[in-house]
């Protein structure tokens, strides 16, 4: 019951936030210079053509009317028409979002798989060579721009030692599996197309790792700090005093509480990467939502801009909610407090 009320409250807040966000972005996008109809039709379009498209897109109506039409359309799944693709933005989002989700999800896996253990090990061997090495790695990962990492990985992994593909989600000679979710890994597993699965995974390696490296460094640092903090707690000292082995202390007593800040940052990283993956998508010609969004901004395709912003807003909501659930599991005190608040 507590969880249900918690979810309902969160949903309510999110609707308010998304509404406010939509008004802000709607207004800003229409204030930006440039006529989107003119940009879409090309420089030689006649005024008659431009006026016709403006009318078709409802741009000749007052702003509040345009906003009302847009918002009411959202509830019907109509995100408006994209000037650049000439189809409903909802179709574009359905097309491009899975590519970014897949890319970001695998990058989070890398971050969690390597960042958390590296941070824990670093904390365990504090101020020794392993700790110093991890810290150096973290600094480098955070300091170097993701697109530089992407270009380096691509040059090394796809040209110098040509193991990985340079671009795209699938090789040219590999047919895409039947589209169910748009996530190639999932779709190929569902359809039993292991060739496509393997090829899609192979294509994901370089871009996801390039996207992960900065976050990996950050998570390693946070994990190290929180693990160090936990290892200095009295109950850990007591456990050591009872002769409990270090490995058991790390895995049973230190890991769960030290994960709390890490999980929070992972959730935020996931949500923000949906928009920040643009440069990675550009380098690897990855047909994702981030690249679509940047193109929409440059072409003043405001329906697309609105759609992308709202999607990122929803992703933030979902990510934060999942993070809260995980933290509630990791720290029962938080879960019990929330349940008490829900009952009161």
């Amino acid at each position: 019951m507590g969880v249900v009320l918690f979810l309902a409250r969160r949903l309510g807040y999110s609707v308010v936030v998304l509404l406010g966000l939509s008004i802000l972005i709607f207004t800003i996008s229409r204030v930006l210079p440039g006529n989107p109809a003119r940009l879409a039709l090309g420089p030689y379009a006649t005024q008659d053509q431009v006026a016709s498209l403006e009318h078709q897109m409802g741009l000749d109506k007052p702003l509040p009317v345009q906003y009302w039409v847009y918002v009411t359309g959202l509830f019907r799944g109509d995100f408006g028409m994209s000037f650049q693709t000439r189809r409903n933005v909802a179709d574009d989002i359905r097309h491009y979002l899975p590519a970014t989700i897949e890319l970001v999800a695998l990058s989070i896996v890398w971050i969690a798989l390597f960042g958390i253990p590296l941070g824990s090990l670093s904390a365990k061997h504090k101020d020794k060579w392993l700790d110093n090495g991890v810290r150096l790695f973290s600094f480098v990962g955070v300091a170097i721009a993701p697109f530089v990492i992407a270009l380096l990985l691509q040059f090394i992994g796809a040209y110098l030692i040509p193991i990985f593909p340079a671009t795209g989600r699938l090789g040219m000679m590999v047919s895409a599996p039947p589209r169910i979710t748009g996530l190639l890994l999932i779709d190929s597993l569902i359809s039993g197309d292991m060739r496509a699965f393997g090829d899609a995974l192979w294509h994901l390696v370089l871009p996801s790792f390039a996207l992960a490296l900065g976050g990996l460094g950050q998570i390693a640092r946070i994990s190290r700090a929180s693990t160090t903090d936990v290892l200095e707690k009295n109950y850990v000292e007591a456990a050591r005093g009872f002769g409990i082995p270090d490995r058991r202390i790390m895995s049973k007593y230190a890991l769960k509480p030290s994960l709390i800040p890490t999980v929070t940052v992972l959730g935020l990283t996931f949500a923000s990467s949906i928009g920040n993956a643009f440069l990675i998508e550009q380098v690897f010609s990855w047909p994702g939502l981030a690249k679509y969004g940047v193109r929409a901004i440059l072409r003043k395709d405001f329906n697309s801009v609105m759609g992308v912003v709202l999607v990122i807003g929803v992703v933030f909501f979902v990510a934060n909610f999942i993070v809260d659930l995980i933290i509630g599991y990791l720290d029962p005190r938080i879960r019990l407090r929330k349940e008490q608040q829900g009952n009161n």
């Binding site: 379009a45 006649t46 491009y96 270009l151 671009t167 795209g168 040219m172 003043k300």
Partner: protein
Amino acid sequence: MPRIAKTALLLAMVLAVTTAGTLASNILTLSSVQEVGTVDPARATDYTETISVINIYDPLVFPDGNGVVQPKLAETWDVSEDALTYSFSLRQDAVFHDGTQVFAEDVAFSMERMLALKDGYSWMWADLISGIDIIDDYTISFTLREPFAPFLATLPAFCVLNKDLVVAHTQPGDYGDYGDYGVEWLNTAVDTDAGSGPYTLRSWDRGREIVFARFDDYFLGWPQGDKSVDEAHMFNLPATATLKTMLRSGELVMTDNLRTFEDYEDMSAYNGVTVIPADTGQQITFKINTKAAPTDDIHIRRMLAWAFDYAMAITEISPGSLQSRGPVPSAIPGQNPDLFQYTQDLDKAREELELSSYYPNVPTLHIVMGIGAEAWRRMALSLQAALATIGVNLEIHMETWGRMCELAAQPETTPNLMAIIQAPMYSDPDTFLYSMYHSDAAGTWMSTEWLQNDTVDELITESRRTVDPAARQELLNTVQEIIVDECPDIFIYQARLYYAMQNYVRGFTYRPVMSYEFYFHDLWFER
């Protein structure tokens, strides 16, 4: 024979049979810097859309390497005495990809559709065509409201669709019996099309690639046989570093022409790669607002033209490019070859400055160009430095394309200079002269000169109406002379563009109309 040998032989035979149909076909991979928005020939406007359309669909006529239109779906054509009626006789062996023949009815439908949708290249014929008549199955005529000499030159942009197929896929819409004219179908179709061109739409994964597959029954045949391109994959590759990696590895067969000179210089050193230059019809100009102070003074405009360093532009900015000679590039038939060309001469610039009514208190000049146009910024900096030596101040502003279009809408908001690259939309001087200098075309980024000169207007209008080539050329020569004399632009250079490709690619043909060099039917592989 030992059992294992028999098994091996059998396996080899099976492999030979099963792989025979899948042995390496000629696959062309082509980079682009943007995705394809539509493959509807009535809605395409940009360069990747045009590449897609000209390979899937056929127009009535098609430009050759000199920009002169040649027969395509139309075998022959006649022009009436009064130059108002153009009658086309269609080939009787042309078929659409579904096997049905191309009839005059399809041509009529396609033009009606183009004009009704008011999209794409319809602006070329919107106020021009007053009648479309189907004479018989293979003959169609277009009647114009007034004579328009460039009419044939515009027709490569008009492609023919399969009427029956489109009508069978219409949805409710604003066009009466034709509903939405098949717009939704063509916009969402990813492996079907309504064309007759040398390639079919095999697949279209927006954001990933668009794939064209050879149409074996194409009416022009395949002169190169099994060396012709079987499949063409065009995919979005904006990052030049990635493009170079793929070109070096052989994964990319042909590049676009939108990278820097230095990039193509690098690529020319790659093993197995050839870089082909082409002197194009793209013209780079600094357009001068003739209605804003102080560039409303002809002496200030001539001062700018004398101050510009043309040699630097064609040796450092765009090596190999030709300095422009007036408003029409030499790649377009109809340029006046005797036009005056400026050279950098600061003494003459100073002389013009001193003749100006603004001298000695010349207001600061402003030049605007697109964000990221680094090469042009260098040219502007060079001009700024040159002007500084004669006491004139120039400020450089970088703006988004949307903002530039907004500024260009009014003479009061148009800056003194605007850096623009202009590409020919059809192979006729009219594509430059009318859109840049005629008063009716004012208010777009193409006409920030705001020339509004009655004599120029009359000459351009007359040249559009004059179909006799000799008489027309005389008019064109005169109007180009007047324009150069009025100095509404710094005519800088005609771009030399480069195309990098694997050295087994043959048949590349440059045509001076946007994207028509990417006509895959020209190409074959000589391995």
